[in-house]
């Protein structure tokens, strides 16, 4: 579960982007965070992960599975995230990118990665260089990379914004199926509530 208490975020001009913000997401719930653009949704997500912008001031507690994680660096919090413009590592091919998300690479992981790519209709790209991918392919591989990591808490920032309608539907189905299978606690940022179905609650910022 993920809990945020009294979160305040101020920008460099001391204006509050987020003020006294509280929520609790229970295990395997899916929440959606909406709000007009520029209100600080992405900043909030990044803060939950532990990525801070130097000029901003932050306060508030973040609890993962009831333990405080504020002092931990990003990679030691059990929080995973998909950025709005996620990046694949340019010096690795698609398969290497996927396997990089797994702590210890085994034969099992490779099979899993192949089947994931297969489900996304991307298996022909497995050994392609990342800079040959199109925008849609790129963001789907980013999704696949986070899924193979098997997160327990996942933050998602506008996951389907780069896709055309047909692929969007397919990808959305695939994504939510995997999330619910993994019993992953999820917080999704989106403008478009149509994007999201079977969410448990909508929070407005």
């Amino acid at each position: 579960m993920l809990e945020c208490k009294n979160i305040n975020i101020q920008n460099e001009k001391k204006i509050f982007l987020v003020k006294n913000f509280n929520f609790i997401i229970e295990q395997s719930q899916i929440f959606t965070l909406t709000g007009p653009s520029g209100v600080g949704k992405s900043t909030l997500l990044k803060y939950i992960c532990g990525i801070k912008q130097n000029s901003f001031t932050y306060s508030g507690d973040i609890l993962v599975n009831k333990s405080l994680v504020n002092h931990l660096p990003t990679n030691q919090r059990e929080v995973r995230m998909i950025f709005q413009n996620d990046l694949l590592f340019p010096h690795m091919n698609v398969m290497e990118n996927l396997l990089f998300a797994v702590p210890i690479t085994k034969k099992k992981n490779k099979d899993e990665a192949l089947s994931l790519l297969d489900k996304l209709n991307l298996s022909h790209l497995s050994y392609k260089n990342t800079n040959t991918l199109s925008g849609g392919e790129y963001s789907r591989i980013c999704l696949a990379r986070i899924i193979i990591n098997k997160p327990s808490i996942l933050l998602v920032d506008e996951p389907f914004s780069n896709l055309d309608i047909k692929t969007k539907n397919m990808t959305r189905k695939f994504f939510f199926k995997n999330i619910s299978e993994m019993k992953c606690t999820t917080l999704i940022v989106s403008h478009d509530l149509d994007d999201i179905y079977n969410h448990d609650k909508v929070i407005k910022l």
């Binding site: 992960c49 990679n75 995973r80 995230m81 950025f83 990046l87 590592f89 010096h91 990089f100 702590p103």
Partner: protein, 541 residues
């Protein structure tokens, strides 16, 4: 536990900084104390009056050559950006050409019996060279232009990456829609932007021109000598009157360098505001690319001529005026160099690469663990600035004083240290630059995947930044390989680099040996940077 680890980590980098700061302060303080304690106001003002010609010559020559270098580099950058970006990175190989060989090459090109005079004599038919009339005016001119052209490759390389960030194509389109000519676009809009972000390289260049010894002694005027020559002269001298000048000269040089830097930055702001507030509506569309092309050709031709004349000197037995090519050939110079100096040659390569790798590792480590602590960078910047701005000969005299008053470490250790602190600023500036250019989202991406910092450093940062690290290594290697004042001032000949031996040979009678030495000297850094250049070229395609 983690917090503790973090604390220790950060303290280590503070510790390193304070240690370095401490030593540098000790060195500077030592030399300043020695100087000031022996200085009276009367003798200082006397010396100041006596050396006024020297001071003004040094001051104006250095400032003029820096300004020339900036403008030439600006036009070349424009030309290269628009025409042939990739062939331009070959200039990086020229950066590694040793200063001493460059100066001596210039002397052989422009002497009354030099290459140009010989070419001229084909048409004129004179058997004997003309009477030489190189007064001080001409010497100043040669000094200014050769120093400027030597610094151009360095400025162009950094200038190109700055240029890319400005996005000049878009600016140019927007401004030309408003009715400006090419030249006025360039001078009114792009130059102020460009020069504003070129502060650091310009600083490095002005600091170098104040601390270099080779240019002022080989190419500079003799009446009056430039200050650096005078300092070394009085440092060596047995003449008591000369020795007493040393103290005032040290103070004067430090002040001079400081004032020059301030003046240059004031000038920069003045020029920027002049260009942004003055409209150069020049109706005719000059082809500004031609200026850049012209300068680019000059730089390339000059370096080619110098390298080839050094090569011919190295294989010639006798080569008298007016023959264009040597008349008799010999490989004695090469075989002499290889036979006598191969141990030192490889030793110098080993020392330089060890020191540059060491300083690269230290810098990377410090930047890596203290990315969130702003103060560390400020302090590192200050430290690098101090090392660069205090003229090298003075700094090394301070190290030498310190060495002789505290015999804790061996001469070797002091020698390596004195090399190390001159690599440090370059490594710091370049590593910081690469880190700033590196997209932090790669690491954030790895972080949110739960990957440890160490792993993400080795499998993401290192592969992506390999080229940057290679270039940093190449440049700091060549900087280290071409140091020579350490061998003269700190160790006084007991520990040397190969470069020192080449310099000594140039004081002797065998030019062919000295020339082969100087080509051999160019070889390691040249080869290294050529490899980097080829890699760079293919990696970025």
């Amino acid at each position: 536990m983690n917090g503790l680890k973090l604390l220790i980590n950060q303290n280590i980098s503070f510790l390193i900084i304070f240690l370095l700061f401490g030593i540098v302060f000790l060195v500077i303080g030592n030399i300043l104390y020695e100087t000031i304690s022996q200085l009276t106001i009367k003798s200082f003002s006397n010396d100041l009056m006596n050396f006024l010609p020297s001071i003004s010559v040094t001051f104006f020559n250095n400032i003029l050559s820096t300004i020339c270098a900036i403008f030439i580099a600006f036009f070349i950058t424009e030309y290269l950006y628009k025409k042939s970006y990739f062939s331009s990175s070959f200039l990086i190989v020229l950066i590694s050409f040793p200063h001493i060989s460059y100066c001596i090459g210039i002397t052989y090109l422009f002497a009354t019996s030099g290459l140009f005079a010989r070419l001229f004599s084909i048409f004129y038919g004179n058997e004997v060279p003309f009477i030489s009339y190189r007064g001080d005016g001409l010497a100043n001119l040669i000094y200014i232009f050769s120093l400027a052209l030597r610094e151009v490759p360095f400025l162009v390389l950094i200038g190109l990456s700055t240029w890319k960030k400005i996005n000049p194509n878009q600016i140019q389109q927007q401004v030309s829609v408003l009715g400006h000519s090419d030249l006025s676009t360039l001078m009114n809009c792009i130059f102020p932007l460009w020069i504003k972000s070129m502060g650091l390289p310009v600083l490095i260049i002005i600091a170098f021109s104040f601390s270099n010894f080779e240019f002022s002694s080989i190419l500079g005027p003799q009446f009056p000598n430039m200050i650096n020559v005078k300092i070394i002269e009085s440092w060596y001298s047995t003449n008591t009157e000369l020795m007493q000048h040393l103290n005032s000269l040290i103070i004067i040089t430090i002040l001079g360098a400081g004032v020059a830097i301030l003046l240059l930055f004031f000038l920069r702001n003045a020029i920027v505001s002049y260009f942004t507030n003055t409209r150069l509506f020049i109706p005719i569309n000059y082809n500004t690319l031609l200026i850049g092309k012209f300068f680019f050709l000059i730089v390339v031709l000059l370096f080619t001529a110098i390298i080839s004349i050094t090569f011919f000197l190295s294989i010639s037995k006798s080569w008298f005026f007016p023959s264009i090519l040597p008349t008799t050939f010999t490989l004695k110079g090469w075989s002499y160099m290889i036979e006598n100096y191969y141990v030192l040659f490889f030793h110098s390569i080993f020392i330089s690469s060890t020191i540059s790798i060491f300083s690269l590792i230290i810098m990377t480590y410090m930047i890596e663990i203290s990315q969130n602590i702003k103060n560390i960078f400020k302090m590192l910047f200050l430290l690098s600035l101090m090392i660069l701005v205090i003229p090298q000969n003075i700094m090394l005299m301070g190290i030498n004083n310190l060495m002789s008053s505290s015999p804790f470490f061996s001469i070797k250790a002091w020698f390596y240290f004195s090399l190390f602190i001159y690599i440090l600023p370059y490594t710091y500036f370049m590593t910081k630059q690469s880190y700033d250019d590196f997209n932090p989202q790669y690491i954030e991406n790895a972080d949110v995947l739960g990957i440890k910092r160490l792993k993400s450093f080795f499998s993401i940062k290192l592969p992506i930044m390999t080229n940057d690290f290679l270039i940093i290594f190449g440049v700091s290697f060549s900087v280290c390989f071409y140091q020579f004042l350490q061998g003269i001032i700190v160790t006084k000949g007991e520990e040397l680099l190969f470069n020192n031996e080449v310099l000594i040979l140039f004081s002797g009678e065998s030019i062919s040996t000295a020339s082969s030495g100087s080509l051999l000297n160019f070889f390691p850094a040249g080869l290294l940077l050529t490899i980097i250049y080829i890699r760079y070229r293919y990696a970025r395609m």
